[in-house]
């Protein structure tokens, strides 16, 4: 084979996601138990969610409300009448021997989020949690297994996308948008590590440009977007290698191990299910009334995609900044309040909110810290008016985050107000006089030698002087 031969055929991945979201309702999907957040095992249970004889499920109205909100956020067609089905299988995490889910008449279909089409949205109940003692960590071969029914019966919304994603990065980016959207709506904690957001991916490859779909494999339970991206990349690479080697992809379910980076097939026995779906006779259909739909519509906040678009369009923020402010809606809210306060240019304020603020508060909500949106806006305005240098303002922000207060008062108290030009001129004069060496070098064309003089000025002014202005004054004075 010569290196001048055309590249081997290019393949294109085709990815679809199946997403499970635990809803943040007050109570479980079909009983009155409060949702569990790490309580002692089996303390959030009742005869209904333990599957005692004679008990019956009753659908949680708040879960239906949240599911309708989600369907609307994704611009789905909401079914005028949807029904629950029983999905039958034996497993100790399923106390009734069946999961109540939705099957061929889901709550909603045909939606869209960003440029990905949503195939369907439906409601179901979560299974209990199994803990296996023993080497395998799985039920087969475990010495003992115990069940914690606290999670059993938690409301879940299942969201299935069309196979519209074309790269692992796009899948992860879509996942982030979905997470930001649901978080903004307040319907779920959407925390992947805690399992309130779970992702499965279907992936196949096909020769680039072709319309047919290849055989797909399923990647189960990726618990971060990073792992989703890596797992998909590994699986796409595996499929490509297989196909290039003349092999064929087999339909199977795979588990991605983030530690080893390896993919392992789940035992086929575990997936060879006939779930024997049939309509759940204990529940009545969900037939959303106009009032229910109106209530769901009214509860929808502005969603991240729309908000980012508005920030770009109306406030002329750069795309990345707008997206960050929308995906972290608490930053977006803080930003909008700061703008509302009237001081400071939107782009500058956005810059401070997306850079300086997170550098100090990490992932926390700024509302939980000392700094008020109006205070930050005033601080940014002071920087713009050159009343305070950028570096001094950063020091002020440290104080505001820790203790709150008014930026001007902090500036006065710490003596951080910008040195006035008369005073500064004198300092510059002194610095030039005592750094004659550097002056000569600058004049000889070594531009970076100016740093020594600037440094001397900054030291003298304790950072109150604006670095740019100091440079300008020095250059004027030494005529370079």
């Amino acid at each position: 084979m010569s290196i001048t031969e055309p590249e081997a055929r290019a393949y294109e991945p085709v990815i679809g996601l199946e997403i499970h979201v635990q809803l943040k309702t007050r109570t479980k999907m079909f009983c009155g138990c409060a949702l569990s957040f790490g309580e002692e095992p089996n303390t959030r249970t009742c005869p209904i969610c333990l599957g005692h004889p004679g008990t019956l499920p009753v659908a949680n109205a708040e879960a239906v409300h949240f599911a309708l909100m989600i369907a609307m956020a994704f611009e789905c067609d909401i079914a005028p009448r949807s029904i629950f089905h029983r999905k039958n299988y034996f497993y100790p995490d399923l106390p009734k021997g069946y999961q109540i889910s939705q099957y061929d008449m889901p709550l909603a279909r045909n939606g869209r989020l960003g440029d990905v089409r949503i195939h369907r949205v439906h409601l179901e109940e979560d299974a209990a949690k199994l803990v296996h003692a023993g080497a395998s960590g799985r039920i087969h071969g475990a010495q003992t297994s115990v069940v914690d029914f606290n999670r059993g019966g938690t409301p879940l919304v299942e969201i299935v996308t069309e196979p519209d994603l074309r790269s692992p990065a796009a899948a992860a980016e879509f996942g982030r948008l979905l997470q930001a959207t649901l978080r903004r709506m307040g319907v779920s904690d959407v925390n992947m590590e805690e399992g309130s957001l779970r992702l499965d991916a279907n992936v196949s490859i096909r020769p680039a440009g072709e319309a047919t779909l290849g055989t797909k494999t399923e990647l189960k339970n990726m618990n971060s977007f990073r792992f989703l991206e890596r797992g998909l990349s590994a699986e796409i690479a595996r499929q490509e290698e297989l196909v290039r080697g003349g092999g064929e992809v087999e339909q199977e379910t795979l588990h991605y191990d983030p530690q080893s980076g390896g993919l392992t097939a789940l035992r086929t026995k575990e997936e060879a299910h006939d779930y024997r779906y049939f309509p759940e006779p204990d529940l009545v259909p969900i037939a959303p009334t106009e009032a229910m739909l109106e209530r769901a519509r009214a509860a929808l906040p502005e969603l991240p995609a729309a908000r980012a678009e508005r920030f770009e369009r109306e406030l002329e923020l750069p795309g990345d900044t707008a997206r960050l402010l929308s995906f972290r809606s608490e930053l977006g809210d803080f930003f909008e309040e700061a703008i509302e306060a009237g001081d400071g240019d939107a782009r500058s304020v956005a810059n401070w909110v997306t850079n300086e603020l997170p550098a100090r508060i990490g992932g926390a909500d700024p509302a939980d810290t000392g700094v008020e949106p109006a205070a930050l806006a005033r601080l940014v305005a002071m920087v713009e008016a050159k009343e305070v240098s950028r570096s001094a303002a950063q020091e002020v922000l440290d104080v505001l985050v820790a203790d709150g207060g008014d930026p001007r008062a902090v500036v006065d108290a710490k003596g951080l107000s910008r040195a006035d030009t008369g005073e500064l001129a004198e300092i510059v004069e002194r610095a030039i006089a005592s750094n004659q060496d550097a002056v000569d070098k600058v004049r000889a064309g070594k531009a970076q030698a100016i740093g020594a003089i600037v440094g001397a000025v900054m030291r003298e002014t304790k950072g109150r002087a604006d670095g740019g202005e100091v440079q300008r004054m020095i250059r004027e004075r030494i005529g370079s």
């Binding site: 005869p47 004679g54 499920p57 009753v58 034996f90 100790p92 021997g97 087969h140 006779p281 204990d282």
Partner: protein, 464 residues
């Protein structure tokens, strides 16, 4: 004390309200009667009256109703020793109306059967002839009421499980409209068909007990508010009412039973009612549809009995072996048969042919009744094709057993109201007449039944 055996429950309640009968004495009387039962009707009898015993006679409760702290096994070994942590809504309604739980009555395992021979705890004998079955699945409730071992009782009817034993024991049994009584706390057999109702000595008692059972329950999504107050029956005439007769020519109907029913039709006309023959074209497929739908639902309803959370657990080793051994030991043959039928009917590739078709038949039967009730006020049929059969006679022939519900299953599939009342005797054994009306027509059905009951003058089990 008054001879309580000679009084219906309503009369006893009247005495209690007037202060002429102490509720505690009444309870003790019936408790002693229940203790003395030799028919196998009871699986558990209350030790003493509750603190707050009210002024309704105590009620015998089919074993599948969950009663907090009281053995509730649905007649199955797989729930042996199970004492529920909660009480069924229907039972709670009766308790708060003043009727204490007298005991738990024997039944076919998980209500699957028509002779009570499928109980995991032994059969029940028919008080009219102890070599015969009491019918089923609410056989214990029917036998106890007929034998005077309970003033009244509740049972459940899925395809005839109240009406058929009531007929075979010569008492009144009402299967209410689906949704009229909460199913919460009733150990499920077939959820879309199961309905709780009274088994009583007469029609008045049935109405009184039914009145305290109905109502929407927030714990049962399929329950509804009963549209009107339940009236106690008072009619003595049937003037202006029309009765559509179905089934007298059906193959399998015992000729002597048919003759008793024909006699009753004459009584209807004497009371001023009009009788005409009607056709329910799809009703003949009722049994076939029923024996797909009910087992299908049962196969899922009974999946929870896995030995993990309650009930006996058998087998060691791995999980699947434990499941298999527990279910092997805990379930009886008929239950296993129906789980297999239901599992098969729902399997991929067979679902449409079986479950789908059965649902279509069910819809047609409901349409048949809707059409019939445009022409007539009530539909009347024999309740059971035969009188009580010998113990053991049909145990080897499931199909013959299934046909016991031939006349009762269509009403269950349609979800409508139907009552069985004693029509007379045939060879010394009771024959039941079934009167069915549209959904929520119980007050009218019971009124008509009352007029007929008065005219027929049926007397209960001859007492020594």
């Amino acid at each position: 004390m008054t001879d309580l055996l000679s009084l219906n429950a309503a009369a006893q309640a009247g005495l209690m309200r007037n202060g002429e009968l102490s509720p505690r004495e009444a309870f003790d009387f019936w408790r002693a009667r229940a203790e003395e039962d030799e028919l196998g009707a009871y699986l558990w009898v209350a030790e003493a009256a509750p603190e707050d015993v009210g002024d309704l006679p105590p009620v015998a409760v089919k074993d599948l109703f969950c009663v907090e702290g009281v053995p509730s096994t649905a007649g199955s070994r797989i729930l042996e020793g199970y004492r529920p942590p909660y009480t069924a809504t229907s039972v709670r309604n009766l308790q708060s109306a003043g009727a204490a739980v007298l005991g738990k009555t024997n039944q076919d395992e998980f209500a699957m059967g028509s002779s009570n021979e499928n109980s995991g705890y032994g059969p029940v004998q028919n008080p009219w002839d102890r070599s015969r079955v009491p019918g089923g699945s609410s056989g214990g409730s029917a036998a106890a009421v007929a034998a005077g071992a309970a003033p009244w009782a509740i049972g459940t009817d899925t395809g005839g499980s109240i009406r058929q034993p009531a007929a075979l024991c010569g008492i009144v049994g009402l299967k209410p409209t689906y949704g009229a009584v909460s199913r919460y706390g009733m150990i499920a057999f077939a959820s879309s068909l199961d309905q709780c109702g009274p088994l009583t000595r007469d029609v008045t008692d049935a109405a009184l007990l039914f009145r305290h059972l109905v109502g929407r329950d927030r714990c049962d999504s399929t329950s509804v508010e009963y549209p009107e107050p339940v009236r106690l029956p008072s009619a003595e005439r049937l003037d202006g009412l029309s009765f559509g007769v179905w089934g007298l020519e059906e193959e399998g109907l015992d000729r002597a039973v048919a003759d008793v029913i024909r006699g009753t039709l004459g009584t209807i006309e004497e009371l001023g009612g009009a009788v005409e023959e009607i056709e329910l074209p799809s009703a003949r497929q009722g049994i076939a549809a029923y024996y797909v739908i009910a087992p299908a639902e049962a196969s899922a309803n009974l999946a929870r009995y896995d030995g993990v959370r309650y009930g006996p657990r058998s087998g060691d080793g791995d999980l699947d072996a434990m499941y298999e051994q527990t279910r092997h030991d805990g379930f009886g043959d008929e239950v296993k048969r129906r789980i297999m039928i239901g599992t098969y009917a729902l399997s991929s590739g067979y679902y449409e042919a079986y479950y789908g078709t059965a649902q279509k038949v069910r819809t047609r039967i409901a349409e048949d009744f809707r059409a019939a009730f445009k022409a007539v006020d009530f539909v009347v049929t024999p309740t059971s094709p035969t009188v009580a059969f010998e113990l053991g006679e049909r145990t080897a022939d499931p199909l013959a057993m299934y046909l016991s519900d031939y006349f009762t299953v269509p009403m269950s599939l349609a979800g409508i109201a139907a009552v069985s009342i004693p029509a007379g005797l045939c060879d010394g054994l009771p024959v039941g007449l079934q009167i069915a009306g549209p959904a929520f027509s119980e007050s009218r059905v019971l009124d008509a039944a009352h007029a007929l009951e008065k005219a027929i003058g049926f007397e209960g089990v001859p007492r020594a």
